[in-house]
Amino acid sequence: MSTYGYLDRVVRGRVFQPKVVAAYGFALGVLAFWLTIPPFTTRSPIWPVLIGILATLAGVYAVSRGARRAGWGAVVVGVIGIGLGILATRSSAGNLEQVFTASLIASMLVFATPLTFAAIGGMFSERSGVVNIGLEGMMLMGAFWGIWGADKTGTWVGGLVIALIAGGLLALVHAFFAIQLRADQIVGGTAVNFLALGVTGYFFVQLYHGENIPTGVSQIPDVNFTSNSDHSAFSDAFGHLNLMIWVAMVLVVVSYVVMFKTPIGLRIRACGEHPRAADTVGINVYATRYMSVVVSGMLSAAGGAYLTVGYLNTYNENVTAGRGFIALAALIFGNWRPFGAFGAALLFGLSTAIAFRLPVYSASAATLFQALPYVITLIAVAGVIGRSIPPAAVGRPYVKQ
């Protein structure tokens, strides 16, 4: 083979593979916007427009060569990059400095962490074939009983353990109805959410008279890499993150390994794709599903406990405020995969973090920005950018012969 032929093969084989081109487009789209914010803060709109157009073209190329999902993704990112880029160049550099600081990353991670826990939990449940729209309720249980436990035992470790138990128990209720009684899983999940709202609300009043949790409850500690006087970008972003944030990131990796690199994961997935096939080779479908649902409850509860014991250090009624549903959205948007779900949680966390800073521009934009995760998920399930495909047997009760 001639050198030219070899090069030709490399170029055609790798560099212009549709998915790779789409990835370039994706990166260019992000770059288009990135150039206009600190630390670069390009003031001319020409650059974001030019780069954004390149990103869009790359996406169109990828779509035309069959990489539909990735390609449309690049097109969308390109267009958004142009839009945001132009907006940023029109805004004052001072405002930009306020919104786009390194601490935005820390803030994104704070908001993404409860979502990550619950979404990964949901992945276990749904991969095993049990729909779990009760994530919100399980999270709320963890949030309330976690801080109660930390208050009573005097240590955040106790709080976390009690949160896991509470979330696990509620999940067990869901599992019992979904698996044993073959109740409709969506109806059951809805019920679990109401139940958690009632139970936590009731005991919050009973135990704390609906007032604030006493201050000084043991809090999950931060992990300090840098000194408090350090104000470098790295320090602002990663220097003082809560322990649970790091746990969440480890959890993503571990759950990926468990789900896709171990026999346990293979069996869980088998139960979610074709339970009868799993049964006929001797896998206990009921036990696997029970275990997965309980794990999902415990992980969701850990996310809730982070919220109260790790972040807010207090509790108020319905403190989770729909985060369990955003986690569900992250799970779907992330295509029932750990890194996908984590990526979606980061994206949704970022949108929340930005929403909290947007009032410097406009209060209305800040509020509407909070709806972004839901809009994105709506678009995702509509299949505009590829289609999210759930496990084949999810939601169907299994009847053992």
């Binding site: 390994v257 690199k261 171990t262 026999p263 994961g265 293979l266 069996r267 997935r269 088998a270 794709e273 074709h274 009868r276 096939a277 799993a278 049964d279 006929t280 080779v281 001797g282 896998i283 084949a392 012969q401």
Partner: protein, 508 residues
């Protein structure tokens, strides 16, 4: 060959609510033989095998494997005793690879924790070489064909060191070539000392592959006979318990005007693969045109396209001379196409609806059933009463749910609704599947009567006997094409061969 009994089942009895599925059945299996279990649908073959595989527990009886009494409470126990089963519906996970499917539940691991796909692939590759299966362990199951999926199922059993293999109706989903390849594989396995239980209701293939044949009828064992000396006739007699098959009295039809004309029709299936590939034929007034073929050769898609339930890719359908483009179900109904669908419970009836509501399933939207969007339930009842009387539907009143009717009466209700609409063309897909003899005779009689009334009838059936005894003209469908056309006196052998892709000649 060494004659050792590897399996004995004695006095197996299994009752379900209202039915004795197995009644004191004895069965034994010797090393290296293919032992066929033959019987009609519902004779108790699958129940017996599910008991052997631990999916059901017998109410009475004893099972011995290699002389040891065993009791299986789950498939896991049966697998541990060296029994493998290939189910009629494959138990494979489409998104996983061949190797993952095979090793599931006994996965090789690395360092005791991690699943080891390379080792799984190596072990599977070893098996595929040993038994000469052409199959790639790394391929996802969703990308391989039906014949290969069956081999994966067999590999699953072999990987679990099974020496007894149960095959439940294995050829039902196979093309003839695939079936003969399967038989090759089975002969190879028995040479290696495996024993095979082969469940079937097809006489010819049982005679081809089996060493011994056990016949079940209504849950009871009739007899076990060696292949030598058995004939299709003798086996059929044992299976059905009487000599003659159903005959329908009819005079030769007098074909009139063309009522249904199908021109170069192309239809794809749910997976977007071509299922009907350029089919042309016509049905005239006063004739029954039968379509014979093995299941899955495009019959369902053909019927769905003609009745507007599936969009045709190309081609033309004319009803009573008028071409209908992009016919929806409603357009086809209005054009005068009646349809007795192949699955009355899933499609033909809304089981939760009353008989009266089902009787008006097509015509609820026009007078007298409704006017200006408003329904007149009294008219529904009147119409249902007429159908019940005229078609002798028993077991329910107009206000009863259709679900309470027996299968035969449900089918009568469907047929009554379709015929009473006075269609030009009546399409009957598997009209007698799963019915008792009385209902079958009634429906056959009725189809002939409707032909004599001057309707055109298209009969699609998997039962060749039914096609032969009713049709005035017979079309043979194979792989989505009409491969032959015959008059009413065609021989069963010739058509049987064509259904399997042999003896091909161009359609008229």
């Amino acid at each position: 060959m060494e004659q050792a009994t590897v399996l004995e089942m004695r006095g197996i009895t299994k009752r379900f609510p209202g039915i004795v599925a197995n009644d004191r059945v004895d069965f034994d299996l010797e090393r290296g033989e293919v032992h066929a279990v033959l019987g009609e649908n519902g004779a108790g073959k699958s129940t017996l095998m599910n008991i052997l595989y631990g999916l059901y527990q017998a109410d009475e009886g004893e099972i011995r494997v290699h002389g040891q009494p065993v009791s299986f409470s789950s498939a896991k126990d049966a697998i541990a005793s060296g029994i493998g089963m290939v189910h009629q519906h494959f138990m494979l996970i489409p998104v996983m690879t061949v190797a993952e499917n095979i090793v599931l539940a006994i996965e090789p691991t690395r360092r005791g924790v991690y699943f080891d796909p390379e080792s799984a692939e190596t072990r599977v590759a070893y098996l595929t070489r040993k038994f000469n299966f052409a199959i790639d362990p790394r391929e996802p199951v969703e990308n391989i064909g039906v014949g290969q999926e069956q081999r994966v199922e067999i590999l699953k059993a072999l990987y679990r060191s099974a020496d007894i293999l149960i095959l439940d109706e294995p050829t039902a989903v196979l093309t003839p070539q695939e079936a003969s390849e399967l038989f090759q594989i089975l002969r190879g396995l028995t040479r290696e000392g495996m024993s095979v239980i082969f469940i079937s209701h097809k006489l010819n293939e049982v005679l081809e592959i089996a060493d011994r044949i056990t016949v079940l009828r209504r849950g009871k064992k009739v007899d076990t006979v060696p292949r030598e000396g058995a004939t299709e006739e003798s086996l059929a007699r044992m299976m059905v318990g009487r000599d003659v098959l159903l005959e329908v009295e009819k005079t030769p039809g007098e074909a009139g005007d063309v009522l249904l004309e199908v021109e170069d029709l192309q239809v794809v299936d749910d997976r977007k693969l071509p299922a009907v590939r350029g089919v042309s034929f016509n049905v005239r007034a006063g004739e029954i045109v039968g379509v014979a073929g093995v299941d899955g050769n495009g019959q369902s898609e053909l019927v769905e396209a003609i009745t507007g339930l599936r969009r045709a890719e190309s081609g033309e359908i004319k009803v009573g001379g008028a071409a209908i483009h992009h016919g929806s179900a409603r357009k086809m109904l209005d054009a005068g196409v009646g349809h007795i669908p192949e699955d009355r419970q899933r499609r033909g009836l809304v089981l939760e609806f009353t008989i009266a509501e089902n009787a008006e399933l097509h015509d609820y939207n026009r007078p007298p059933a409704s006017r200006w969007g408003w329904l007149f339930p009294g008219k529904f009842v009147e119409w249902a009463e007429r159908l019940i009387a005229e078609f002798d539907i028993r077991g329910g009143r107009p206000g009863s749910k259709a679900a309470v009717l027996s299968g035969g009466n449900q089918q009568k209700l469907v047929a009554a609704r379709e015929i009473a609409r006075d269609p030009k063309v009546l399409i009957a897909a598997q009209p007698t599947r799963g019915l008792d003899v009385g209902a079958i005779e009634y429906l056959h009689r009725r189809l002939v009567d409707e032909r004599d009334e001057g309707r055109g009838i298209l009969l699609v059936s998997l039962e060749l006997d039914e096609v032969l005894s009713l049709s005035d003209r017979i079309l043979v469908i194979y792989e989505g094409k009409i491969v032959a056309e015959h008059g009413p006196d065609a021989s069963e052998e010739e058509i049987g061969l064509e259904m399997l892709g042999g003896g091909r000649k161009d359609a008229a």
